[in-house]
Amino acid sequence: MVSLDCRVNRSHVRAGRKDVVFVSADAKAEGPMREAGTLNVCLAIDCSGSMVGKKFEMAKKAALLIANSLRPTDHISVITFAGKAKVAVPRQQVGDRREVKGKIEKIGLGPKTIIFGARTNLYDGIRLGYEELASVARLYTARLILLTDGEPTTGPTSERAFVELSEKLGDRGVSVAALGVGKKYNEDLLIAIAEASRGKWHHVVDLDQLPELFKLELLDMKTVVVVKPELHVHMLAGAELSNVYRVGTMVTEVTDYQKTDNEYVMLLEDIKAESASKLVFKIHVPPRPRGKWKISKLTLVAPSVKITQDVVVQSTSDSSLWGAEADPYPRTLLTLAQATVVVKEAIGDPTRVRQAQDLIETMMRDPAAATEIRKDPSLMSIGNTVTRVADTVVRGKLTKEDKKKLKLQATVIR
């Protein structure tokens, strides 16, 4: 059902000296696509005053489309939030849709249900959504689709609080699709929420697209084969790990891995049909005498999945061997991920973006890496995106909206 493909860029290292190798772990779904398991979707919709009008109408339309597209056995819940968050539709099975759709229709209508307010309690919106989802989150593919157009103004507002909450969601296998509308929301906060829960951020350029974007999230959920896969990396004594990147829908630097003795545990994005969920990192190999060394053992762990692969290198004094690169893929992937993260975080800073351009340019001077990029469409699309965004940033004079669009391009890799 699932496969793990571990690759190391070099098969030989220099005997008696320290050295560094690049390792990638690609997890993929195998075999024919099965009927998707039960879905558990929660929509958390911003109902603060600035949403009044087309934004809110389209959000409701999108929610109705979701209710229409789910299967009778799937679960749905809807949260609205302004100064306070409240459960507009408690989690329930979609059933014959009538009841659910009726409840959604009623949101924001009638004197008793006016929920528009001046403030935005985004935190409680997410927290209530989590509570609705969490009672069954472990069993089903669960996702929180969050829609907002502003900054959080009441309740906890620090990024740290949001990251902690989102990590909690991620730990329960709930990923957040954070959709931002308009010019005033805080994209860095939405990105942080998405990254901490291994979900994704989306900047809604055109309001008319909103129902379509909600529907795409649903389709995406249906392709999930393994929820919350972990990679356990067991290291040879003295070997160390650095520069860990997660590459999937989003490219993220992983810093929140757990470490106990010689074992590191890190999370991959959910494994989906037809796209690989990847981690890539460096292993610093301590000086070793000549011979074969198992520098690391990688295990993919998820419910009903356990696949192990060893990373083996040979220490040698033969310079023709240690100079050879058996597989440039891991090094190429890591460099691209590194450049992407720099560009994403430094959209407003041409000097730092130029450093990312240098990283890629230096790599492209190496024919092995250049060939690797050309032959692998997933590397090609990261490389193309990041160079295009970097070029635009360096040319300069960007509006706030330009920056959001560029950030989106650098964040969510298609």
Binding site: E325, R331, R365, A369, M380, R395, K397, D402
Partner: protein
């Protein structure tokens, strides 16, 4: 004398191929960098037309696109772009023909000297001149 790594600055022994500090491939002589995409990338959408003004050119591949202040902010001084509306005009392609429509802009659009605000879609010909907000003249060319 060792080989200095271009990425981390570490001095490596002379016979090194990879940096022992950061793992990067060491470069002895640097051949020219290759662009990420080959020149004939099949995925690159073909530009349909261009709009040129002063030293700038927009090459556009969308069959319908709205132009406004955000497009000009990067190229014009504030005293000029402030007259351009947020969504000033739209150029669309229908069959082989191109059309322009003023989107009810505050300061209007002239096509070859004729005000087109409020008069719907007007056909654009290769070489047509578009005057935006009486400030910026663009030349339209089919590619």
């Amino acid at each position: 004398m060792g080989i200095k790594c271009l990425q981390c600055g570490h001095d490596n022994p002379n016979d090194s191929v990879f940096c022992e500090e950061c793992g990067a491939k060491l470069q002895v002589a640097a051949p020219p960098a290759l662009p990420v995409a080959p020149p004939t990338a099949p995925s690159a959408p073909r530009a349909l037309y261009k709009l040129s003004f002063k030293d700038n050119t927009f090459e556009v591949s969308d069959s319908s696109r709205t132009f406004g202040r955000p497009d000009f902010v990067r190229f014009l001084p504030e005293k000029e772009y402030k007259f351009v509306s947020r969504e000033h005009f739209t150029i669309s392609k229908d069959g082989d023909k191109f059309y322009i429509r003023d989107n009810g802009s505050a300061n209007g659009t002239k096509l070859n000297g004729v005000d087109i605000k409020g008069s719907g879609k007007k056909e654009l010909k290769d070489g047509s001149k578009i005057l935006v907000a009486d400030t910026e003249e663009l030349q339209f060319n089919i590619i």
